[in-house]
Amino acid sequence: MLNRRRLLTTALTLAFAAAPLQLLQAAVPAGYPASYQSVIDAATKEGKVVVYATTDAALAQPLIQSFQQLYPGIKVEYNDLNSTELYNRFISETAAGAGSADVLWSSAMDLQVKLANDGYALRYTSPDAKKLPDWAHWRDEVYGTTYEPIAFVYNRKLVSAGEVPKTHADFAALMNNPKFKGKVTSYDPEKSGVGFLLASQDSKANPSFWNLAKALGGADVKLQTSVGAMMERISSGENLIGYNLLGSYAMTRAKKDANIGYVLPTDYTLVISRLALIGKASKNPNAAKLWLDFLISTRGQSLLAASDLYAVRTDMEGNSTGTYLGRVLGGAMKPIPVGAGLLTYLDQSMRLQYLKQWKAALARN
């Protein structure tokens, strides 16, 4: 990772050294219209872009560095928040007219769509928008940037190859095995927005989801609020297997932690995408455009792919792309479409009703 970054830096330094004039003015990226230069100029005048994101600062570091090499005159103020804090801060700050994020980049797909629906997003057609799959953008306001499959995550030392479930039905069946009683973990949809989103999408995608939920309840599932807490417990052997974890995190962790294994279910695999939008009241709208465009540019996408977040663009090749996963798993990939459908469960009564049903299935009061 480090080496690659150093290589890239060296390459860029050499490129800049060869063309010293480039240093003075950042160039229009290949394939963008020439008129893009005016956006770059205006952005350079603005001088910075404020990003509120749910993506780990550590994961975003290569993106920020690369962006700054492209546009040395624009400072990236990157705020790493959880999705609720992000939403809270943004609407409070906007209401106060206090200046808030220029770009919101969050994995809470429903909240991002809600912001756009409530008129907080700037309408902007990114030059690369047509390279995104249709499901991954909405109204020229919200753009999907990643392709993150939802996985079963298990402890490789304690779960035998024969036990590892391949489908949701396998998973439900595994719950009857006494070995897994009290050793299964998943998101708590009451406390975690992502957890709720996944569970509610499950119930749409899977006709026997409620049986699975009952099985989870029967196995005394341990509910957590964060994927890190779940993975920590799976890795330590306190839990053996986890349901509905973000595959991207599991892949990253599996690289340095031999205990972590993951599997993408072959009957259907939900896919979520980190959504980016530009705030309508943004103080640096041009710099915001550059950041958003950068996220879905080939360069940004390959950096995201390198961080195991997977490229969502349809024209990208390699193992860390949605296209590749689609080829391997065929029709099983079920991306959650970006759009008004995500608003259903932000309705208070619908949501409470769903939670009630969930708790009843788990047989918890």
Partner: protein, 560 residues
């Protein structure tokens, strides 16, 4: 006009400023609880819908019941242990007293968040102590995530609070009464039970109320230990409401906060009342003879074992857990420690500018912010010093109020204050916002430190200056302040350590430039960066440790 003049312009200004800092955020919370939506949206309506919602929610009642159980459990555990500890350390010839005294205070200054996480790694179902136990005895008899466990851990970690107040009272008590009992043949246990404890009963009662009250506020431990089995307490229920409806439900959160205040504020008042009584008792001092230590005799080693056992469970276990986690890639069943060992987490830490800033800011807010806070507390303290007019009474009650609000919501309220009060916007993304929130949240604690320093100044000195014609300001500047400079230094160090450990208040004020370790721990835990949480926790403990070491080097007494 005359009356106002008598109170003094500066004094009024100081009190007004403090009142603003205290009442603005709390007023916002109360107002928000009576609305149907965020107060800053135009379409909200007044009403009791928020209260109706939480009172209809079975989770709320479960959380309230759990909070009550934990608070009661804490009293049952912390009170007798704290009292025993105070008796052993200040009245007997327990071996190694001096060292133990330092260690005893550690749980006060380490974030409960760090403690909780440490307990999971050390004594969770596959924690390394648990696995060790299992290999020796076959099965692990404890479940760290159960409600009784949470209550026990909370109780054990609050022993120092009781210890602080009872040992202060014991030290103010002459040893002649105990001496008399011992001469007539009573053993140490009998002396403690029949003589020493009844004498410090008011202080015990006071600290009992304190512990009970802290039990209602407790957040970090149940957040980490209660989650897996779904045990909520009021503060974690409040936290849960940030998500339950998918959208922020400020009115619901505010309503829960008001409920917590409704329980804790009467307790704070009761405490204040008890403190007065306690101080009256202390006036019944023995003669100012040197205190003689009671020989423990054959109880000596048993007492040491008791203290050592408590220290092991409360300090060694969680801190060894957190330390271990910082140096390994993974842990748990079947892990070879030698293979899992790594320094990578520390290298990763060094590569993140935000984290480095957080460490730097944490030191800054502790050292400079702590100093500034003590300066403010002192200004307030001087306003009340040797006076018993309306301003003094105002301060007496006012400083107690922020104590009753959960830190997380206090932080959110301060975010609102900085956003919506004109003229403060620019300060929001500076460390000032975090500092102000900290200073207000810890007002009661800081005021106690400063006023106990002020009380040690003999009135004659100030009076003689006054009779020679010195103004109050002059007396303060030339007599009182120089005399308490050492006390203020001690307060500064204690406030430094409290600021280092604070964690929930800063969460909503976190921006680039205002990161502090405490709030970063909460947000990184939520984001799942466990490696980083471990390394940052360890850094935090080291910072607090450095603070304690400096304090001791300077000869500061860690308590009065």
């Amino acid at each position: 006009m005359n009356a106002l003049a008598r109170l003094g312009g500066t004094r009024i200004a100081v009190v007004l400023l403090a009142a603003l800092a205290v009442f603005l955020p709390i007023g916002l919370v109360f107002w928000q609880s009576a609305l149907s939506g965020p107060f800053f949206f135009p379409n909200h309506e007044y009403g009791w819908a928020a209260y109706q919602f939480i009172f209809d929610d079975p989770d709320f009642w479960m959380a309230a019941k759990n909070s009550l159980m934990i608070a009661v459990g804490m009293i049952v555990i912390a009170l007798p242990l704290g009292a025993a500890l105070a008796f052993l350390l200040s009245r007997t010839d327990l071996p190694g007293r001096r060292w133990i005294e330092v260690l005893v205070l550690i749980p006060v200054f380490v974030s409960p968040f760090v403690l909780g996480f440490g307990y999971v790694v050390a004594t969770g179902p596959v924690g390394f102590y648990s696995l060790m136990w299992q290999s020796w005895f076959g099965s692990v008899p404890w479940n760290i995530y159960s409600l009784p466990s949470i209550a026990i851990i909370a109780g054990l970690t609050h022993v120092p609070h009781v210890y602080l107040y009872s040992s202060a009272a014991l030290k103010n008590l002459g040893s002649d009464v105990e001496e008399a009992a011992r001469v007539t043949g009573a053993g140490p246990l009998r002396v403690a039970r029949s003589i020493s404890l009844p004498m410090v009963a008011p202080s015990l009662l006071y600290s009992g109320v304190l512990v009970f009250f802290l039990g209602f506020e407790i957040f970090g431990l149940p957040l980490i230990l209660g989650d897996p089995e779904g045990h909520l307490v009021l503060a974690t229920y409040l936290y849960k409401l940030t998500n339950k409806l998918g959208l922020p439900s400020y009115h619901l959160m505010a309503a829960v906060a008001v409920c917590i205040i409704a329980v804790t504020f009467p307790l704070v008042l009761l405490q204040r009342h008890l403190l007065k009584t306690a101080n009256r008792y202390i006036a019944v001092k023995g003669k100012a003879t040197r205190q003689r230590l009671m020989p423990l005799g054959r109880w000596r080693w048993m007492a040491l074992a008791l203290v050592g056992g408590w220290l092991f469970v409360t300090v060694v276990v969680p801190l060894s857990g957190i330390t271990l986690r910082a140096f390994v890639t993974n842990w748990g069943l079947g892990v070879q420690w030698s293979e899992a060992f790594t320094l990578q987490h520390f290298r990763d830490l060094a590569e993140q500018p935000g984290v480095i800033r957080a460490i730097f800011n944490t030191i800054l807010i502790g050292v400079i912010g702590g100093g500034l806070a003590v300066a403010c507390y002192t200004a307030l303290g001087l306003v009340a010093h040797r006076r018993s007019d309306i301003l003094t009474r105002c301060i007496d009650y006012m400083v107690l109020i922020p104590r009753a609000v959960p830190g997380l919501l206090a932080g959110l309220a301060f975010l609102w204050v900085f956003l919506f009060i004109p003229g403060l916007k620019e300060l929001r993304s500076s460390l000032f916002s975090v500092w102000l929130a900290y200073a207000v949240v810890w007002l009661a604690y800081g005021m106690r430190l400063v006023s106990s320093a002020l009380l040690q100044v003999a009135p004659e000195l100030e009076e003689s200056a006054r009779t020679l014609g010195a103004s109050r300001t002059r007396v303060n500047l030339e007599i009182t302040l120089p005399l308490i400079r050492f006390g203020l230094l001690a307060s500064w160090l204690l406030v430094f350590m409290i600021f280092e450990r604070e964690y929930s208040t800063g969460v909503y004020l976190l921006t680039p430039g205002t990161e502090v370790i405490g709030s970063m721990l909460v947000s990184q835990w939520a984001a799942g960066a466990v490696d980083l949480v471990a390394v940052l926790s360890l850094t935090n403990v080291l910072l607090v440790g450095t603070g304690i070491a400096i304090a001791l080097k300077l000869g500061v007494k860690l308590h009065d």
